[in-house]
């Protein structure tokens, strides 16, 4: 597995980010933290997208992860980053596993909309329930690491880089496996896959659970990086749309793509907001249009093009 070039690049990138993170100003580190956190969810959507499945409701799992962290903090006083992360993954993955029994039977628009329906149910519950923070959400306390309470956010940044790298490597391993490579085959001909002796429903269920675990982790990381959770930016359908947006922006070509795409999105949004505070969506929307028209492979296709010409010369 360590011979895999992509995995080598992932870990090299992780080390570079960790070293760089020590020197860069806080606001840049914040941008990277949000970018890399969200990248985990994008990675999850990519796993589904490769089989032709799009989920318009992944903010459901993003929110489950984030709220798992917040509720553990508020009601049980859990501040350990590892416990929070594990809890978020278990909650999101567990709910994803249950929902998967229904979703694995649907494709296309039905798959996309069923996920959306689930996320809107959660949104409704959160907004209406005072004990769950209602529309304001909760503030999340600064995470600790095995009892160690660091100054600043650098420790959390390192954790996000490490979790991101291991997740990317894990997904890469999965995508190279027989199960993970059942993507185009399922898209082309489900009947044949069944007759070859494997259950399409099961293959999709596995993809779905992987994707929900990653998205739960993304929610947990974002909650800790941001120091708060709220239904509108994390569970509402616009949050789901944003995740799909970043997935398209990144492109499905590589497990590294989500990290680049998500960071680009973070910067794009920040600068667009600074430039035209009242119409920043215009710039973001225009970018998506440009990507779909001219770069259907996402930002990653630029990287590929750059590396391709780099190799030849």
């Amino acid at each position: 597995m360590l011979k895999d070039r992509t995995v080598q690049v992932v870990f090299a990138g992780m080390l570079a980010s960790i070293v760089l993170g020590y020197f860069i100003p806080d606001w840049v580190m914040n941008q990277l933290m949000f970018g890399f956190s969200r990248a985990l969810a994008v990675l999850g959507l990519m796993v589904l997208w490769r089989t032709g499945l799009v989920s318009f409701g992944h903010a459901f799992y993003y929110g489950l992860g984030a709220y798992a962290v917040a509720l553990l903090d508020i009601y049980l006083g859990v501040s350990d980053a590892f416990v929070r992360l594990a809890a978020a993954v278990v909650v999101a993955g567990g709910v994803g596993w249950l929902a998967g029994f229904i979703l694995r039977n649907y494709r296309d628009i039905f798959f996309a909309m069923l996920s959306l329906a689930l996320s809107m149910v959660l949104y409704g519950i959160l907004v209406k329930t005072e004990a769950l923070g209602s529309t304001d959400g909760f503030a999340v306390s600064v995470p600790t690491f095995f009892g160690y309470k660091p100054e600043g956010k650098y420790a959390l940044f390192v954790l996000i880089c490490v979790v991101g790298a291991f997740s990317a490597a894990g997904v890469q391993f999965y995508l190279n496996s027989t199960l993970g490579k059942l993507t185009t085959a399922i898209r082309d001909n489900e009947v044949r896959v069944e007759y070859l002796g494997y259950s399409v429903a099961q293959a999709i269920h596995v993809k779905y659970v992987i994707s929900t675990c990653l998205t739960g982790a993304a929610g947990a990381m974002t909650a800790m990086a941001l120091g708060q959770v709220d239904p509108d930016s994390m569970v509402n359908w616009t949050a789901s749309g944003e995740l799909v947006f970043v997935t398209i922006l990144s492109g499905p070509g590589s497990v590294i793509a989500p990290f680049i795409g998500s960071t680009v999105f973070e910067l794009l949004r920040t600068y667009a907001f600074e430039l035209v505070p009242h119409a920043w969506q215009l710039i973001v929307g225009g970018t998506l249009l440009t990507i779909i028209l001219f770069l259907p492979g996402g930002v990653w296709s630029l990287v590929e093009r750059f590396m391709g010409t780099g190799k030849k010369t």
Partner: protein
């Protein structure tokens, strides 16, 4: 019939779709190594029979025993895992993948029970075996061609090659020569039947073309309105008045009408 114990025993199979009877008291014993031709007019129940044996359709009544196991209630993937594969009248292949990727996918699934599905798909033993299969079915020339660019004949060979990589004991071929040009069909059948005989695979194949039936099968089973009306050697079957009237006769008329 020789004394060998049957590998497949079908008893009292029944299936109807509304008022249409697709199978009515179908009984069949298949001995290992046989090559059986299934003939009958369109709608006689041939494909329904194959679909029931492979788990795509569940019979209304009856039993299908394979190597002593009851197959009724099995899903297609369970039947494949039990050791019965099939090909399709319209080739069921992965049209945006290359020929090599198609066979590799089939092979990797067949060779990856349980958690082995998490092993890499590209592994040296599979890749070597994959090239052997391509050579055996004489599609090596098309190795890296995308399937959607291939002729019907090559697709049929690929479809069958994908069905045999799981090393089934029985292979059901649904009209292996349909859509294949007259010049190609005997070559195709020579390749397929030759390879299957070598591997000692028991074959049941649906065929409309009596030339093909006469040349390749050891036994003919004729269907008419969901019933088996004849189960004989090819020479006997083709001389059988019932077969001539209900199978060959009807086909001749249909062809004449179709112009």
């Amino acid at each position: 019939m020789n004394a060998t114990h049957p590998i497949l025993t079908v008893k009292g199979l029944e299936k109807s779709f509304g008022a249409v009877t697709a199978a009515s008291d179908v009984n069949l014993d298949v001995v290992p190594g046989e090559i059986i031709g299934i003939i009958g007019a369109n709608g006689a129940g041939k494909t329904t029979f194959v679909n029931m044996v492979t788990g795509y359709l569940q019979p209304d009544a009856g039993s299908i025993q394979f190597e002593g196991r009851e197959l009724v209630g099995f899903a297609p993937r369970d039947v494949t895992q039990a050791g019965i594969s099939r090909s399709f009248q319209v080739s069921q292949v992965f049209s945006t993948l290359s020929v090599y990727e198609n066979v590799l996918t089939a092979l990797a699934i067949a060779r990856s029970p349980g958690l082995d599905m998490l092993k890499p798909m590209l592994r040296p033993d599979l890749e070597a075996r994959c090239d052997e299969v391509l050579a055996r079915y004489q599609i090596t020339d098309y190795r890296d061609h995308t399937v959607s660019t291939l002729s019907q004949g090559v697709r049929k060979l690929l479809d069958i090659a994908m069905a045999v990589v799981s090393e089934p004991r029985i292979l059901l071929l649904d009209e292996p020569t349909s859509g294949v040009s007259v010049e190609e069909k005997f070559d195709l059948m020579d390749i397929v039947i030759g390879a299957l005989r070598e591997d000692n695979v028991t074959v049941l194949f649906i065929e409309h073309d009596m030339e093909i039936v006469e040349r390749y099968v050891s036994r003919v089973v004729a269907f008419y309105q969901g019933k088996i009306i004849c189960d004989e050697t090819p020479a006997q079957a083709l001389a059988d008045p019932a077969v001539q009237e209900y199978v060959i006769g009807i086909r001749a008329d249909a062809q004449a009408e179709g112009g």
